[in-house]
Symmetry: C2
Subunit: 245 residues, 2 copies
Amino acid sequence: MANKIIKSRVAQNINCFNCCSRHLCIAGGSLNTSEIDYLNGLIQKVVILKKQEHLFHAHSEQKNLYAVYKGSCKEYWIDENGNYCVTNFYFPGDLIGLESISDRTHLLSVVALEPTELCVISLNDFSLMQEKVNILKRFIDITSMKMRNDRSAKMGVTAHERVSDFLLNLISRMLERNQTINHVPLPMSQLDISNFLNIAHETVNRIFKNLARQKIIKIQNKVLTVLDISELERLGRLDYSLKKD
Amino acid sequence: MANKIIKSRVAQNINCFNCCSRHLCIAGGSLNTSEIDYLNGLIQKVVILKKQEHLFHAHSEQKNLYAVYKGSCKEYWIDENGNYCVTNFYFPGDLIGLESISDRTHLLSVVALEPTELCVISLNDFSLMQEKVNILKRFIDITSMKMRNDRSAKMGVTAHERVSDFLLNLISRMLERNQTINHVPLPMSQLDISNFLNIAHETVNRIFKNLARQKIIKIQNKVLTVLDISELERLGRLDYSLKKD
DNA sequence: CGTGCTATTGAGCGTGGTCAACTTTTGTGG
DNA sequence: CCACAAAAGTTGACCACGCTCAATAGCACG
């Protein structure tokens, strides 16, 4: 596999000010212009990944945090018995690598689900940021929100609930990204979803088909369209309307 | 229910230096004496809870973070359909309230499983701490570790795996607290465990009995004794030996 | 234009959920 | 301290949800 391409953000015309996901990323919250300017100056590089290309592998040294700029990624690990375990999906504005900061070793692997670009926050830059209290507060807020979000994606008891909750979680994340409920990207395979939810992939497929037959959702070309959100909420245990604000 | 008792740490002779869980709490890591001294000066109060008494309820304003000093707590919420959902258990050295920092509103409720004492870190104190870079780094490390730990408690696919993983997770946390594998406290009910793991409580009971019959564990008076750790690891998907260091 | 991955559908069966009954433990008030 | 009530734990029977296996169709990549 080709080595991943790293370019300068300036050359790619990427910066925090014109980034349409910045409200979800570090540059969001209540940071003022000069603080974002400072951030923007620190973050110099972008990694450009092709589909299926790894951002990093588990057990490697963690040198950076990453913020998804464009595209999407899958996080996974291989357990002691050789099982492939999908642990998360990342979309524009999400920070990758937070759970590894404490020991600077990646616990998990991350791979691109489609052509993807990620801003590189070196841990050195991150140390510098720690001098700026407001930026650090923002960082802590993001970590706190991530914990909430991770809890809600796979909570249901039954397979129907779990699939519904997964979709509701995706939908609420896409709404945060100013997408519409009529066009929610599903870049991951049903196999990935089934693995993430601890459900057989045949079951995931049957539930998708079921929901489609009941005209609750429609899936075409890796794009989800929600036809009856209130019915989907009834099936899941999450209430996305609570998280809309 | 009686209002919770709040006392000064000094009066209770509690401080970060003589706390036997400090290596897990904010005062651990590589903080030096003067930094811990600063921390210790900021944290003035202890909350003392009786069994079944709430530390806070979901939807209330978050005024503090809490560090368990002694005892244990259960975290839960009530979903839209009225289901009681256990989301975590906390032991000495654990920080409570991290996922609520971003909007200063508790997402979850926390209740004591036994007589419990918690150090109170007001969010004001927390803001002050943010001026001390090393303390904040330590805080971020803890958050990062919490994310790892939360992932590992309920990972298995089958009921046997999930119960085994839950026990392995508890064991590894107790080892961090200098407890022995022969005396792991189980202050929560089997009902709580079943709810946390999304498993029927009858199933949890049967699996405990099974493990006991196979002489892998023994449970008496809410205390777990591990008789065959390698067999327990084989049944679960976690490898506690990886986390012993 | 094949080769391999992903999606789809069917049939059979086992894990574990549900319901029910009972015992044991814990907590509360007389 | 005992009596009673409530909660927690235990055990058995039943059966359904969802897993496994299998076979085929669609799709994407070289």
